[in-house]
Symmetry: C2
Subunit: 187 residues, 2 copies
DNA sequence: GTCTATAATACGATAGAC
DNA sequence: GTCTATCGTATTATAGAC
């Protein structure tokens, strides 16, 4: 591992987060996570009593990551239009992963909604963090329908990520992101 | 059942198709399907040797359904712009299911891509059927970038379905469909 | 074609030694 | 905190009677 000083709990979260994204939650077993880190399943159960428990920790971990990124962007991009541009840039930056595994937030929400009804609210918060931040930027640009605009931007981003993944075509992502940027600047 | 004269193979396909949509493929067991139809698991295995086999049959079943619908629309809507409108209308018609379970094509592609690499081509064909049909309509309207337009329309539709599902909000679907219709008519 | 019974495996979870 | 060993269960799949 690149960060050997992490304690196991953090290492488990890091590894499980990646595996849940790449393989999906249902297709990832405790054995998979344990093998990845070369620790025992019993150790895993010491840190997380159940798989449900681990999932909750992963979602919370992702929520914290998103909050952290948004806080950085808030500092780095004072202009609201640059905030919107930065959101789209995220898709470009994550191109390689999106092509192979889709959007981590969209795919998790899709998967959980079909069986984990209690966790839908928590995973939806990943969308809401971005949406509220985007809504604020639209509002600062003087738009009255800023909430609808934020939802529309998320819609286009999710659609772009899904189609890019299905067709495994990075050109598709680039083309859709250009359309989104044009839409933002034409508003 | 509403159609008691169907033989078991067809009844299995109908039931499994619905369960794979509602619960997801990985969360649907042979026992689930058998219980739904009140038949034995052994009977199920007589008609489909493996779960993989059943999945292939379901995808083929869906492909045939889409082909059938497109053939009907081809007859009913000679004007290309009406073809595009009809595609969007499909989302409105399926509102209740989309709110609860998402888009059947999008969610299946998302789920399969994460572990069933061999079946990605087959499930992608569900997108391609719609895309080629839409591309033809755009072409008839005189657009040179008809392929890009077809992909963009699919992108917006998938994004709308996903957000509608995540927020469980039918108003969101309606709003996004209106935006899509406006985009089509403004082209 | 449909059933019951059962094999074989994988998984989530627990107990107890260290 | 980490390990090994094991339990209980669910799941896919097969065998054989009817």
């Amino acid at each position: 591992m690149s960060r050997p000083n992490l304690d196991n709990r953090e290492r488990i979260i890091t590894a499980a987060n990646r595996l849940f994204y790449i393989k999906g939650y249902n297709q990832t077993s405790f054995a998979d996570v344990a093998n990845e880190l070369e620790i025992s399943k019993g150790n895993l159960h010491y840190h997380f009593r159940s798989k449900d428990d681990l999932l909750k920790a992963i979602i919370s971990f992702r929520i914290d990551m998103v909050k952290g990124n948004l806080a950085k962007w808030e500092q780095a991009y004072p202009e609201p239009i640059d905030k919107l541009r930065r959101f789209v840039q995220m898709l470009i930056n994550e191109e390689a992963d999106i092509v192979r595994y889709g959007c981590p937030i969209g795919s998790l929400n899709m998967e959980l909604g079909k069986f984990q009804l209690e966790l839908r609210d928590l995973s939806r918060e990943l969308f809401e963090l971005f949406r509220r931040w985007l809504e604020k930027a639209f509002k600062q640009l003087g738009h009255k329908d800023s909430k609808a605009l934020s939802l529309h931007l998320l819609t286009m981003a999710q659609g772009a990520a899904l189609l890019t993944y299905v067709y495994a075509d990075k050109k598709l992502l680039k083309a859709e992101c250009n359309k989104i940027i044009n839409w933002i600047e034409a508003l």
